[in-house]
Each structure stands twice: as C-alpha cells, then as structure tokens.
C-alpha cells in the first residue's frame, strides 16, 4: 500500500504542475485548453533535443543525470512558454476575435491533435528516454522503494509550487494575475494591462507544464501521446480542486495521482485514466465547483 501511495505522490507532482496552468487559462481565458497536454509533451521533447545537444556532465550521486540537466529543464521551460504564447497569438487570439464563435474548445482540440503529430513528424512515434542508465530503486520506508530521480521529481515540484505561491502573493505581476482571474472587467478598468497578464499566464502555465513533462519523461518515458494521456487526469485535477484555484489544482493533482495509483490494487492498470474520469464525473455530479473553487 505504501508503495502505491509513493507512486501516487510522484504522479501527482506531475499532474499538479500541469493542472496549475490548465486552471489558470481556463479561468482567465474562459475556455478549456485541450492543447495543454501538448505543452507537457513539448516540454519533454524540447528537453530531449536539448539533452542531446548539451552534455549532462557527470551524474550526481544516484541520480541519472548531472548538473547540465537543470539547464535543460530551464531551457525546455523557456521554449515551451514561447510555444504557448505562439499558440495563443496564432490560433486562439484570432479566433477570440472572430464573429462566428466556433468554440475555442474545438480549435484547441484540433491544435492538440496537430501538435501531437508534429512531435511524431519530428521525433517519430517510438518511446524515448533521457538516458540509458538504470535508476536503482532504494527502500526509504518499509515496503516503499523509490529511485533518486523520483525523489528529485517530488522535491522540484514542491519547490516550484512554493515559488509560485510567493510569486502570486508577493509580486506585482502575481497579484495582477490573481486580480485578472478574479474580476477581469474590473482589472481592465483599474489599468492593469490584461493582454500582458494573459501572456504571463501562458508563460507560467507553459513553463510549469514543461517541467512536468520533463519530469514525467525522466521517471516514466516519452511518447508523442504522453500529454494527451494526461489531459484527462489534469482536467479532473483542475475541476476537483476548483477551476481558477491554483492551490486547488495542486490538491487535485495529488488526489488524482493517488487515486490512479491506488486503483491498481483493484482494477487493470490499463484503465487508470478511466479512474480519473470517474472521479471527475463524480465531482461534477455532486459538487461541481470543486473543493476550493467559487460557487458556479
């Protein structure tokens, strides 16, 4: 049981990082961005390309990577943030202004499909890994074995979330983001440059998703559909936690991660995404505003 919980926390870390960006764009831009999963995918694959170009340096302790990998993570996040802004500029912003409101949801679904295929086109459909070295799983508690990489994942995710909290509560831009998320019309009237804030939302959401993607690629594997496979659990996490609440997304990510992981005790692992879906369905039935969300 303890092993499942540990696995759940590790998965939850990735889901939380992805769900944060999803809940922010959903709340501020008012549409469900299905292409968000592809930000994870691209983060991972940018990381792959960069890792091929740069050298890791000698591996650190029992981790499978060296200092260079940190740089890879940062650069992958930057590139993915750029991709997110590009996506907004080319696709979403144009459609926001068109008079026929073919939903942005549909466009995001199409964009997600296309982006997946871009990955297939460039890298191919086969699974990829960052390094060939085997990660040794060591016991940290009775019955619980984790690799050092996995511990790194959880630690990094936690650090990033604390950093995000500080950003949102202590910086001018962070507060502006919360203001725009809270009452967009009033934010305009208060002189906040909403267009800038929206760009920032893509940067934050995209970077976090990218890191989530790299971490997932590090501890599991990379395939072109990885983001799409995670989009349902991420939506579930965001809805569970309450759309618009960053802290809700973190909580939701953890809950979904744990649920999916623990469910393996009773059902076929092939059905894991279905667990997330079932949970999300339940929440929509019973308490649609989510745990930390506002009343609908």
């Amino acid at each position: 049981m303890g092993q499942y919980i540990a696995d759940g926390i590790i998965l939850g870390a990735t889901l939380s990082l992805g769900a944060i960006g999803l809940t922010l764009t959903y709340n501020i831009l008012r549409f469900a961005n299905f292409a968000h999963g592809e930000l994870l995918t691209f983060g991972a694959y940018f990381g792959l390309a960069l890792a091929g170009a740069l050298s890791f340096g000698p591996t650190l302790g029992s981790l499978t990577f060296g200092w260079g990998f940190i740089l890879v993570i940062i650069l992958a996040a930057v590139l993915t943030a750029g991709l997110a802004i590009l996506l907004d500029m080319i696709v979403y912003r144009v459609l926001r202004r068109s008079d026929v409101a073919v939903a942005l949801v549909i466009a995001s679904f199409g964009a997600s499909l296309m982006l997946r295929n871009v990955v297939v086109f460039i890298w191919g459909p086969q699974p990829e890994y960052y390094s060939r070295s085997i990660a040794i799983a060591r016991p940290i508690l009775p019955g619980v074995r984790v690799t050092s990489d996995e511990i790194f994942v959880v630690v990094l995710a936690a650090v990033l979330m604390v950093a995000l909290h500080l950003f949102l509560t202590r910086t001018r831009m962070g507060k502006a983001m919360r203001a725009v998320s809270d009452n967009t019309l009033l934010a305009q009237v208060t002189g906040i440059n909403v267009a800038n804030v929206i760009r920032m939302v893509w940067v934050v959401g995209g970077s976090l998703a990218a890191v989530g993607g790299v971490l997932y690629g590090l501890t599991v594997q990379m395939i072109p559909t990885m983001g799409f496979n995670l989009i349902l659990p991420m939506f579930a996490a965001a809805i569970l936690g309450g759309i618009g609440s960053v802290y809700g997304a973190v909580l939701g990510g953890l809950v979904i991660g744990l649920a999916e992981s623990v469910s393996v005790m009773w059902i076929d692992p092939g059905y894991k995404p279905a667990v997330a879906f079932a949970l999300m369905f339940l929440i929509l039935l019973v308490y649609p505003s989510g745990i930390l969300g506002e009343r609908p």
């Binding site: 203001a179 305009q188 506002e294």
Partner: protein
Amino acid sequence: MSEWALSVDEVVAGYVAGVDILRGVGLQVNAGEIVTVLGPNGAGKSTLIKVIAGLLRVRSGKVQLFGEDISDLPAHAMVAHGVGYVPQTNNVFPKLTVEENLEMGAYVRTREIRRGLEQVYETFPDLQRLRRHAAGRLSGGQRQMVAIGRALMLKPRLMLLDEPSAGLSPLLVGHVFDKVREVRDIGVTMLIVEQNAKAALAISDRGYVLAEGQDRVSGPAQELLENPEVGELYLGARRGLA
C-alpha cells in the same frame, strides 16, 4: 474661461447598432467640483458614465479631460490619464484582501504606494482595520469603501462614481456620501451618477438631469432640489425634490 476638468459635448452613444441611448448629451465639470447626474431609469446615466470611462465607444460628439480629447481612449488607457472609475456592481476583487485591492488601484503607479495607502486609510479608517480580510467577505457598504478607496489610490484627477448608493441602506448611504465629500476635500474632482437624487445633491456643487438620452435641466445643486421641473422629470409630480 479656465479649462473644464471634464467636458462632454453632444455625445451620441449606444450598445446596439442603430439604437442610440445617449442622443446628444453635454455637461461640464470644474476642477474640484462634485457634479451629479440624475435621471429616471433608462435615461442613460450608466451609459454616460461608461462612455466617459472608455468602456463604450462614442458615436459622435467629444469627451475632453482638462482640454485633451479622450473620446476614443479605451478603459485601461483612461487610468493613465488619471481617471478613476468606480463601477456600480462587481467593483472589488473578491478573493484579494482589502489591502491588495487598494494596491491594484495603484497598479500604474509603482512608487509611493505606501503613502497612497496611508492616505486612503486616513480617509477610511475602517479599511485599515479590515485590510487583511478578503474583499468579497465584506458587507455592501464596506465593499463600496474599498471600491472608492481603490480608485483613490490612483491619485486621480477625476473620479467617476456609478450609483454609489446602490443596494445600501439609508444609513449607509449617508455615510458613503460623507466619505465622497471627504474625498473631494482632498482635491479630487468627482462626477457622480445617481438614482438617489436627494442624498447626492446634498453634497454636490452642481447637477444635471438626464432624460431620454439628453440633458434637460442643469444648475447648482440647491436649485435642482427645489426645481419643480426636476420632480416632474423624475416622478411626474408637480413638486420639487426638497
């Protein structure tokens, strides 16, 4: 003639194509004045203030701020010109604390926020007490204070208030208007749009009465209170409002 703080000239505007709500409205506000715009429902008061605040396009006519043409400026640019707008509803950031709400008011000014906060807390001591509370949890009257305080943080040259008494009990209405007068005494020019004519005119210097998209009557506040035509426009009664 010295420059008007705000000058609205024959403004025509509306929401739906082909339907004009404002049909040639004119008014002027001197620096340091409180001017109230009154009128029955549907007269176009809220539309007028939205036009001045930059939320609605001017179809014809001009709006000038201290001589500068601001007719086509969008809402977020108005702030840079020193116009603070307090909407009627949804006028706070509910999940942010009172202090954070005020800080947002000073968003375009990155300096002297501390001083600005002190000044607002001086005028609204209740807000200092409540500064760590989420704005959405406050009562209607307190939220109104936050909204006005937020606009004040801008150190605006002109403040626009859209029905500040809406939804408030009579006691609170008096309190709010007292605060409005205090704000003017600091040196802020104010344009108020109001349903509650008596309370608003009591603290105003001058007023205008809007009906069917045009300004019908104007003059010093006291005169309007006693003018029977105003009562007619409002209530169909042959009496003044006093």
